[in-house]
């Protein structure tokens, strides 16, 4: 029971991380396509500058909870996906440093260098996180000792790549919408029109991904095999996700950017939870033999640790959500020319 609660929290943490850092990674990737001049670029940097750091802590929390609540999964997942994870980590280093260092020296070559770093290091994690999770959904080749029998390239299979593309598009739409929320004038127009083009791509890929999931994974089993009592609430997740996807389009058409962005949050959280619910009780299904899979039963921490962690989480996570919401509210205004004049601006 405790382990199952932590399984849900584990899924929620990853979902929140994708929802928050998703728009940063999206904006970073879109930089060369949306920014026409230095001012545009600075608006894009300042649209995510106050948030990226707090957002990234959700990744640390998600990683930390995997470590604390499911140590065996943490061990196998991160050593198995070694190369992919290292690429993500180095990217996140470059991403953070690009944002923080770019504005510190007023020289075009310095700035252009960091701009390139930002775009590459935003795109790679978006792609690789999608590839990694899609591979987890379909199962990865781990043997009975928990040793990964594949390599970086075996992760780049058709379903994995489709998952990567799906994540990239989700984050691009999310980033474009956030930029539409945070900017004015020309840049806002470009972000807005790009978001609706990207949405079309996302809708197509989302359908393809859901269909491929039917053939490549066993995620739907949980939705089809459970008794009605459990089925009703969990079926709401994929349905809600699809509804949120449609709502993005409706709000974009009405130029209601905040609502469109919140709908996009719904898509990201819904898509992640759809996969997580489908996985249960597996955290890391083995593609070699279902008996080798790591589950909430065979990879969780002791009940005492889970209990203490739950108390800590129940007290502190609401506090974190409260002050982070306040900070989002505090910086919710559009990035204005006056903001760019501040000494500490990005």
């Amino acid at each position: 029971m405790l382990a199952s609660i932590w399984f849900i929290l584990w899924g929620v943490l990853w979902a929140v991380y994708f929802m928050l850092d998703g728009f940063d990674l999206g904006i970073g990737t879109l930089m060369p396509f949306l920014a026409k001049n230095e001012t545009d670029k600075r608006i894009m940097y300042n649209a995510m500058g106050p948030f990226w750091n707090g957002n990234e802590v959700w990744l640390i929390a998600a990683g930390g909870v995997t470590f604390a609540a499911f140590p065996t999964t943490y061990a196998v997942m991160f050593s198995g996906l070694y190369s992919a994870l290292m690429l993500i980590l180095f990217s996140l280093i470059f991403r953070g440093v690009s944002i923080e260092f770019r504005g510190k020296v007023d020289h075009p070559r310095w700035k252009n260098g960091w701009d390139i770093c930002l775009t590459v290091s935003s795109f790679l994690p978006a792609l690789l996180l999608g590839v990694a999770f899609a591979n987890i959904f379909q199962g990865i080749p781990i043997d009975e000792a928990g040793i990964f029998r594949g390599n970086l390239f075996s992760l780049l299979n058709p379903y994995g790549l489709l998952g990567g593309l799906f994540f990239v598009l989700m984050f691009l739409v999310h980033g474009a919408l956030w930029l539409a929320v945070k900017s004015e004038g020309d840049l806002h127009e470009r972000a807005a029109s790009l978001s609706s083009k990207l949405w079309l791509g996302l809708a197509v890929v989302a359908v393809a991904f859901l269909a491929a999931t039917w053939f490549y994974t066993r995620l739907y089993d949980n939705y089809l095999q459970n008794p009605l009592f459990y089925m009703v609430p969990i079926v709401l997740i994929p349905l809600g996700t699809v509804a949120a996807l449609v709502m993005i389009r409706l709000y974009v058409a009405k130029a209601q950017w905040w609502k469109a962005w919140f709908s996009s949050c719904g898509v990201i959280v819904g898509a992640t939870l759809f996969g997580v619910v489908g996985l249960y009780p597996n955290l890391l299904p083995s593609s070699l033999n279902p008996a080798f899979s790591l589950t909430v039963y065979n990879s969780s921490s002791s009940p005492l640790t889970l209990k203490i962690m739950l108390v800590v989480a129940l007290i502190f996570v609401p506090i974190v959500i409260a002050y982070q919401s306040w900070v989002y509210h505090f910086f919710s205004g559009k990035v204005e020319p006056a903001d760019l004049l501040e000494e500490e601006a990005y």
Binding site: N53, F78, M86, S301, V312, F331
Partner: protein, 443 residues
């Protein structure tokens, strides 16, 4: 060259690099918070300029600390999966708690503080830097509790083929952790003090913004002086802690090969690790080591030769790290006492200012040496007496680690160079002139 060796090298490189930035974050956040509090209390604009100037350096330093910290958490999984599996029940939960109760707070409010100069009242702005300062130091508490558990494991049972938690309070109240925290925090505040004094000395020597930098210098001096005393006094007590928890580390840091009753401390020792003896021992202080370790001049101190060879740490490295740390610690106390005597005539003491300028790297060296002693001296154990480092490594291909290690060295060298360049150029430029700020406000 195997995955174990390369993983150790990689983790060492990553942690040592990370810790180049952490002490300044811990100390400077507090110092800036004090500056801003003084500004709120007195309304003296100079304190605000001070907070803003040192704040810019703080932000650059903070960013590197954050991004290099993430790789550490994940390296436990990538390179030390057997360790993670075996002790995740305890160690993992401490890291998760650190993120939840502390790291979220500092990472969220750092932006409020950095961009809040014109958006918040002076009071609210000071609160935001205090939140950052408290959260950073709270982060250190949890990380050091986790490290102390590796040094001196408590509150666990071996069950289901792993170490499981059975007394959370024992883990949190680990006496080793309390010592480690005081010691690390002292090191961080000394480092910060010397950093601020060194940069201030640079400007004082050039007679630039003298009032501004005299004030900064004196605040930093107070911090460094107080914590130099704490570090020396408490460091002395640490000896007894190490003797009780890790007798092999004590023997290695003193290069004591034979068990001795009333063990002396030698002023000069040259270890000869290959022949398991010392090439030279000179200047014995009778009974001093026994006194340090067991509070009695004729207590028996166990020598390395009475421990199985497989349980001994690398002696020379442990021994040298200890000597560097202690030697520098004493030097910091001497320099800060001299500084305190000269505190009101800094400008007339160019010789001293020059020494302080060139002393900036020394606390960095001392802090890294301290960690080398703590971590190398704990070997061959990753968790002392519970798990060996050689059993902790992931079943991964050597080639993978070789590539990632090369990437670490390359990326961190670039980052280090960029951070050094930015911090040095901001430090040299000095604070914004007063006129500009007034003009800005009129706009």
């Amino acid at each position: 060259m195997n995955a174990l060796f390369l993983s150790r090298f990689q983790f060492a490189a990553a942690t040592f690099f990370h810790f180049l930035f952490i002490p300044l974050t811990l100390g400077l956040s507090v110092l800036i918070a004090i500056m801003e509090t003084k500004y709120v209390r007195t309304g003296d604009e100079e304190y605000k300029r001070m907070a803003r100037f040192w704040g810019k350096i703080f932000l650059i330093n903070f960013a590197i600390g954050v991004v290099t910290g993430i790789t550490l958490e994940f390296q436990f999984g990538t390179n030390w999966s057997q360790y993670s599996r075996y002790v995740g029940d305890i160690f993992g939960s401490l890291l998760a708690i650190e993120a939840t109760v502390a790291f979220f707070l500092e990472s969220t409010f750092i932006a409020v503080w950095a961009l809040g100069w014109n958006r918040l009242s002076a009071k609210a702005h000071a609160v935001s830097i205090w939140l950052v300062a408290i959260a950073s130091n709270l982060s250190a508490v949890w990380i050091l509790i986790a490290n102390s558990w590796m040094q001196h494991p408590v509150g666990y049972v071996i069950r289901n083929g792993r170490a499981e938690l059975n007394d959370f309070l024992a883990v949190v109240k680990n006496s080793y952790a309390i010592h480690e925290f005081i010691h690390t925090i002292s090191a961080a505040y000394i480092l910060t003090g010397f950093f601020v004094m060194g940069v201030s000395a640079y400007h004082l020597l050039r007679k630039q913004n003298t009032g501004f930098f005299e004030k900064s210098f004196r605040m930093a001096l107070n911090m460094a002086l107080i914590f130099s005393i704490v570090a020396v006094v408490q460091g002395h007590m640490n000896g007894a802690k190490v003797a009780a928890a890790q007798p092999t580390k004590l023997a290695a840091m003193e290069s004591l090969w034979e068990t001795k009753q009333g063990a002396p401390q030698y002023l000069i020792v040259i270890p000869d690790e290959n022949n398991q003896r010392n090439r030279l021992e000179w200047g014995a202080i009778p009974g001093a080591l026994s006194l340090l370790a067991y509070h009695s001049t004729d207590a028996t101190v166990k020598g390395l030769n009475d421990f199985p060879e497989a349980d001994r740490p690398p002696v020379t490295l442990t021994f040298i790290s200890f000597r560097i740390m202690v030697g520098l610690g004493v030097l910091f106390l001497v320099l800060t006492v001299i500084g305190w005597l000269k505190r009101n005539k800094l400008e007339e003491s160019p010789g001293f200012l020059k020494i302080m300028l060139y002393s900036i790297p020394l606390p960095y060296i001392a802090a890294e040496a301290g960690w080398a002693l703590a971590e190398v001296g704990r070997q061959p154990w990753v968790v002392y007496g519970v798990m060996r480092t050689s059993d902790a490594v992931s079943p991964i291909a050597t080639s993978q680690v070789m590539i990632s290690l090369a990437a670490f060295v390359l990326v961190y060298s670039l980052l280090g160079a960029a951070a050094f360049f930015l911090i040095a150029s901001h430090a040299r430029r000095g604070p914004e002139p007063v006129e500009v700020e007034i003009q800005e406000r009129r706009d």
